[in-house]
Symmetry: C2
Subunit: 200 residues, 2 copies
DNA sequence: GTCTATATGCAGATAGAC
DNA sequence: GTCTATCTGCATATAGAC
């Protein structure tokens, strides 16, 4: 049952790599998690690095296409922002450990990125034009698309990446309280952004 | 020359641990970086974990006190925000790898946090009262201090944590262009926050 | 395709001379 | 306090039987 096994391995590898990183992960733990033998991992992927690369690439593309295509839907701009935040927040909420994982591994080996970005054909040009048009038309304040983009992504991503810290600092480590906080968060970020860029 | 050596070790350990993390770091590399022998590391700190803990604690406290005390200066609130962003941005700019390092390691071992937070006596109560007072007085929009705090920190921290990604996505990996972007960023974040919370 | 057993290398840690 | 040499264990990877 080749396909099934390969899928089981990838599921297990995802789980272990994303929480522990490349260096922290153990092939033994991945094998256990997959309910198979260690040698079988090498039969399917030959090296730890290969297995990791498969997981990383998948995670990366779960994160990035949204990031750029977020704001290019064909509806009024402020609604678009709202929709984009809504969508991206849900994606990260479903994969809360991916941003930190990707950021950490990119930091470890930044050059790996170049080829991946080319592969995907990520191109922020369209976003740039849209934002500039909105500014020129006087519908939003004068802001570069890079700042706007980074601000939105930052607030969404950090809601999850900084959770262990914030939950302890502000909510006495109460899971339920932080869950409640997260439920407000999407709306709060939207309001924060809209308030900030719309003309008075 | 005991003191000197211990300081050299800590300098080297800081450098290596903060860029590679606990799992990715090698005692040999730290020894090389310090210009001493591997055995000497163990003479001074006995275990890798001990050495790491020293580095981590230091990094953590470089990050955190600011985070909470940021907004409690005794000047008008919006000015305070400005000053706080200014100060915190400079701190992170001087230590750009620390946030990701701390977040990653907290994720690896969240329980380590409890004791550290107690040690420091971090208490966001004062911040809470201040923000609530401003809201009640009608000087800013109705916002919880946790959201405000997280928003500000997010935008500052991610300016550096996501640099390898953003520099490649938006600036064709040109160092100078991203440096230029960073120079605008402090002012941009300030404007973004003030715009968002001040009453229309 | 899956397993058990094993080779290989390396990292953390210690012993002991100076 | 600092070094060289060495031990120990463990993690990745391979060999080979089924």
């Amino acid at each position: 049952m080749k396909d099934n096994t390969e899928e089981k391995i990838l599921d297990a590898a995802r789980k272990v790599f994303i929480t522990k990183g490349l260096d922290g992960a153990r092939m033994q733990e991945i094998a256990d998690e997959a309910g198979i033998n260690k040698a079988l991992l090498h039969y399917y992927f030959r090296t730890k690095q290969n297995l990791f690369d498969a997981v990383f690439e998948e995670a990366f593309f779960k994160l990035i296409p949204h990031v750029v295509n977020l704001l290019t839907l064909d509806i009024p701009f402020l609604e678009r922002i709202e929709k984009a935040i809504d969508k991206y927040f849900d994606v990260i909420n479903a994969n809360p450990f991916i941003p930190l994982f990707v950021l950490h591994e990119i930091n470890r080996d930044p050059d790996k990125l170049a080829s991946l970005l080319k592969k995907q054909g990520v191109n922020p040009e369209k976003l740039k034009l849209i934002v500039e048009a909105e500014v020129k038309a006087g519908r939003i304040i004068d802001i570069r698309h890079e700042h706007l983009m980074l601000n939105i992504i930052s607030m969404i991503v950090m809601s999850f990446a900084a959770r262990p810290l914030f939950q302890r600092m502000f909510f006495e480590n109460q899971e339920e309280q932080y869950e409640e906080f997260l439920k407000q968060r999407k709306q709060e970020i939207t309001r924060f952004v809209i308030n900030s860029i719309q003309k008075k």
